[in-house]
């Protein structure tokens, strides 16, 4: 470690590591140096000249954002010269600025407004009229108002460096300079809206938020995005029970300022007109609105009849990838103890069970990587998946690792994914060849000659390169499952340093669903049903019997329905008809199909009973991201007529005569913390909004069949069923591009 640098700013002594920028050093001692173009993490620009400070022995004022500190530097930020300069710079920036703050969306949270208030320059000395230009619509989600723009170029840099999309440029010159989009008058990009968020003024505005309200008029609630499995923190702005925008306002959590198009704009399904508001009950072949009491009583009565006639084997349950851990936990408790069936499963999008088993067997349960580990990694191995589409945050963190810490990225994939631009070695294998490549890397089976374009030599080169790395983070998609995960973990653990692993699952709580035991053969915390001790532990906690025999997996459930063995199916927050491509006849054998959903999905259309569930914005609880980090959801609003899945389950249990004592999701969480191995998380950390990593340990049974684990391959603009009900996600032309398209 190099010697720290000592300098003085406004007479205050400062000690910082070498290479620190003056503006950052000043921040450390609480001295604010105003700037617009400087943004931590982006390349330096020196465009706005707001950060000019006086440094002794330097002839002119220097820009603090581009000056690296040196030993003995004496800096002044409070001289009249600096104050005058700030005022003059603001006067320049306001030359053509319309000062339409009362109308501008940014008014109230505008950096330029704040600076003018603080440093003056409310009056201009220019006599010429201001240049005016009409507002431009770059896309349905991004608008550009040239007169407000102060040309700090943050948007250009974040699009290029942060997002690797490069959709913006600078058009024309001098006073006529403006930000131009890449397709003539239009943007063609990932529509992540990072440019809107990063804009210090109101030049770039959001198509969904513009001119709706003012920043001090809404309530802000930090919660977790409900789309992909990365678990980005997002702040929902709510006014009158309507979500108006989402942005990670305080830049907290594991995503910092990052949000993708789904996180920033894809929340509007919550406000959708098509939300179910009342339970539907099928009467005479038609679904009709019914009261909650009617719908739930009907369900329970029908269930009781079926259980009495056919036994617990005639009832199956399908859980969700999006509901909270508490709900998932209660759902499997309900299935196993109240219904007495282990026929419970969900759409598995990554083989978390195999990863947990492999790491447990290797005695390496400290090797689950967190999102932070990814951005701080020196070396990354990505096998399968396309994080740019399926895991926008992880893709962003990988790019950050490569750009800011010079990490090496190694990719094994059968498709030309966009992240190959950042890779040091990119091994393109034949379609579905990822697993074979892993087996070959692990030395389990020799690779076929046609596995990759460059012959097996490329594979050897990759193996050699990995052996020279240390502390590699290995990320893998659904391509790697079952025994191959085991091979990958065994091979990965032989690499130098502390190798860590991430299985990439699709949705907000895919990981939580597996962790909470929405599986036919596994109890919460990956404890196999066959493990008598684990079973007894749960039985004594729940004071009920759990059937010991493993239940049907999701494919067998469908087969059971076809064969007429299963008479009742309960579906919570899933759309299996669409996901598994079931035909119309697949579910006709059922006497009861109960669906708890937000919308009338393909599955809900076939149901006898549909109950309106609450969305992520309307409930509290916890979710676990694909890296196993638990975060808290916070209720921000209410939707009349809906109930959370937790409330639905409690009501069902009550009608079954159960005396569950849970009052709130927190009660369930306390039980999870007490009972589920690996989930002994500190509650306070969770409540203050931290992401708490978990380290599950268990030996769940091996994967029964390969078609149980598959990813939906959602693109940037799709998110299972939810995205269909989002205006924003469907309003942009880019949404028509297929999965895997590189913008």
């Amino acid at each position: 470690m190099a010697e720290p640098i000592k300098l003085s700013i406004d007479g205050k002594p400062v000690t910082v590591p070498p290479g620190t920028l003056l503006i950052e050093a000043a921040k450390q001692v609480g001295i604010e140096v105003p700037s617009f173009c400087y943004y931590p993490g982006l390349s330096l620009q020196g465009a706005c000249r707001m950060c000019l400070v006086a440094i002794e022995k330097m002839p002119k004022l220097q820009t603090a954002c581009t000056t690296v500190v040196t030993n003995g530097m004496v800096v002044h930020t409070d001289t009249p010269e600096v104050a005058n300069t700030r005022k003059s710079m603001l006067e320049f920036l306001l030359t053509n600025h319309p000062l339409d703050c009362p109308v501008c969306d940014k008014g109230g949270e505008c950096e330029l407004q704040d600076a003018v208030f603080r440093y003056g320059a409310a009056e201009t000395r220019f006599l010429e009229g201001k240049l005016h230009e009409e507002e431009k619509k770059f896309s349905n989600l991004v608008y550009y108002d040239r007169p407000r723009c102060i040309l700090c170029f943050r948007c250009i840099r974040v699009c290029d460096e942060g997002m690797d999309v490069n959709a913006y440029g600078i058009g024309f010159r001098a006073a006529h300079s403006e930000i131009i989009p890449n397709r003539g008058e239009q943007l063609e990009c990932e529509e992540c809206g990072m440019c809107i968020d990063i804009c210090p003024v109101g030049a770039l505005t959001s198509g969904t938020y513009r001119y709706k309200t003012r920043p001090w008029e809404v309530t802000y609630t930090g919660t977790i995005c409900n789309h992909c499995g990365d678990g980005c923190r997002t702040t929902l702005s709510v006014r009158n029970n309507v979500v108006i925008r989402a942005n990670n306002r305080d830049h907290s959590g594991l995503n910092g300022e990052f949000l993708c198009v789904k996180g920033r704009f894809g929340w509007d399904f919550v406000n959708s007109e098509r939300r179910l508001k009342s339970p539907l009950l099928r009467k005479n072949g038609k679904q009709e609105e019914a009261s909650w009491e009617e719908a739930l009583t009907f369900t329970v009565e029908r269930l009781k009849t079926i259980l009495a006639e056919h036994g617990p084997g005639a009832v199956a349950v399908i859980g969700s990838n999006r509901t909270t851990n508490e709900e998932d936990y209660l759902l499997q408790r309900f299935a196993r103890t109240v219904l007495g069936t282990n026929d419970i499963d969900h759409h598995r999008t990554a083989d978390f069970s195999s990863l947990v088993r492999a790491l447990t067997e290797a005695g390496a349960t400290d090797r689950y990587a967190t999102i932070e580990d990814i951005s701080a990694a020196k070396s990354l191995l990505l096998i399968g998946n396309d994080p740019t589409h399926q895991h926008p945050l992880i893709a962003y963190q990988i790019r950050q690792a490569v750009r800011q810490h010079g990490a090496r990225l190694y990719i094994v994939n059968s498709r030309e994914i966009k992240l190959r631009r950042q890779s040091s070695q990119y091994l393109q294998v034949k379609p579905q060849g990822e697993a074979e490549a892993v087996r070959a890397l692990a030395g389990q089976a020799p690779a076929a000659q046609d596995l990759c374009a460059g012959g097996t030599g490329a594979l050897t080169a990759l193996a050699d390169a990995l052996k020279k790395e240390s502390d590699t983070v290995i990320l893998f998609g659904d391509e790697i499952q079952g025994q191959t995960v085991n091979d990958l973990v065994t091979c990965g653990l032989t690499l130098p340093g502390k190798t860590r692993f991430v299985a990439l699952g699709d949705y907000a709580n895919s990981r939580g669903a597996a962790d909470m035991g929405l599986l036919p053969d596994t109890l919460p915390g990956y404890q196999p049903l066959s493990n008598e001790k684990a079973r007894e532990r749960m039985e004594s906690a729940w004071a009920a019997k759990i059937p010991a025999a493993p239940g049907r997996n999701i494919r067998s459930i469908f087969e059971g329905i076809r064969a007429g063995e299963i008479k009742a199916l309960l579906v919570f927050g899933a759309n299996p008809v669409k996901t598994f491509g079931l035909d119309n006849a697949a579910l006709t054998g059922l006497q009861l199909l109960f669906v708890a959903e937000l919308f009338r999905t393909e599955t809900a259309e076939l149901a006898n009973v549909v109950v309106p569930a609450a969305s992520f914005a309307e409930k509290s609880g916890t979710v676990t991201n694909t890296c196993g980090e638990v975060q808290a959801l916070k209720r921000t609003m209410r939707q009349a007529g809906t109930r959370s899945d937790l409330e639905i389950l409690l009501a069902l249990a009550r009608l079954f005569g159960q005396r569950w004592t849970y009052q709130s999701p927190e009660d369930v969480l306390r039980e999870i913390i007490a009972l589920v191995p690996g989930y002994d998380i500190p509650l306070p950390s969770l409540l203050v909004g931290r992401a708490v990593p978990t380290h599950p340990e268990g030996r769940p049974p091996a994967l029964e069949r390969p078609d149980l684990v598959f990813s939906s391959r959602d693109s940037l603009f799709t998110s299972g069923t939810l995205s269909r009900y989002s205006w924003a996600l469907n309003s942009v032309d880019e949404a028509k591009k297929p999965y895997g398209h590189a913008f």
């Binding site: 490069n166 913006y168 440029g169 131009i180």
Partner: protein, 164 residues
């Protein structure tokens, strides 16, 4: 489609620069000379050849006033109104031009013969007021000289048509 001659020119120009992207402006000029303006296709081709994003090529076109994204007239009249020319009546020349042709800054006559543009310093201050027609310079321009020039250009156009 870009002509083979242009592509060959691109190859030879790029080879002259140690840094490929330095060739962007000369490539744009050659492309414009041949096509009359810089087409989308030319932008894509140049970006591909020098290994930059197309938006960076578009930025350059915006920066340099002599590069055009749309076709311009057969004779592109560029009147300087920078300080030396302004002091010697450059603005009057520009206004005269606009009046004679019935078009404004960055506009083209309906017959596609003339385009007019008010440009920054042409580097011909010694002969202010100066103007440039395509690549030819005209110095010490007066309204009378301008009328004669316009008539001359019209005649030239007629001549070329007869020959065609």
């Amino acid at each position: 489609m870009l002509s083979d001659r242009l592509k060959a020119k691109f190859d030879s120009v790029i080879a002259r620069y140690p840094l490929k992207r330095s060739a962007i402006v000369p490539l744009l000029l050659f492309a414009q000379d041949e096509i009359g303006y810089v087409s989308d296709e030319a932008v894509e081709e140049i970006a591909r050849r020098v290994g930059v994003n197309p938006i960076e090529v578009i930025e350059d076109i915006g920066y340099y006033s002599m590069l055009h994204r749309q076709p311009v007239g057969k004779f592109h009249l560029q009147v300087c109104t920078n300080i030396s020319c302004m002091l010697r009546g450059g603005e009057k020349i520009f206004e005269h031009c606009a009046k004679e042709l019935g078009i404004e800054h960055k506009q083209t006559t309906p017959d596609g013969l003339f385009s007019l543009e008010e440009v920054e310093c042409l580097g011909a201050c010694c002969g202010a007021p100066a103007m440039q027609v395509n690549y030819d310079f005209y110095e010490n321009v007066t309204p009378e000289k301008l009328d004669a020039l316009l008539a001359d250009l019209r005649k030239k156009d007629q001549g070329s048509r007869i020959k065609d």
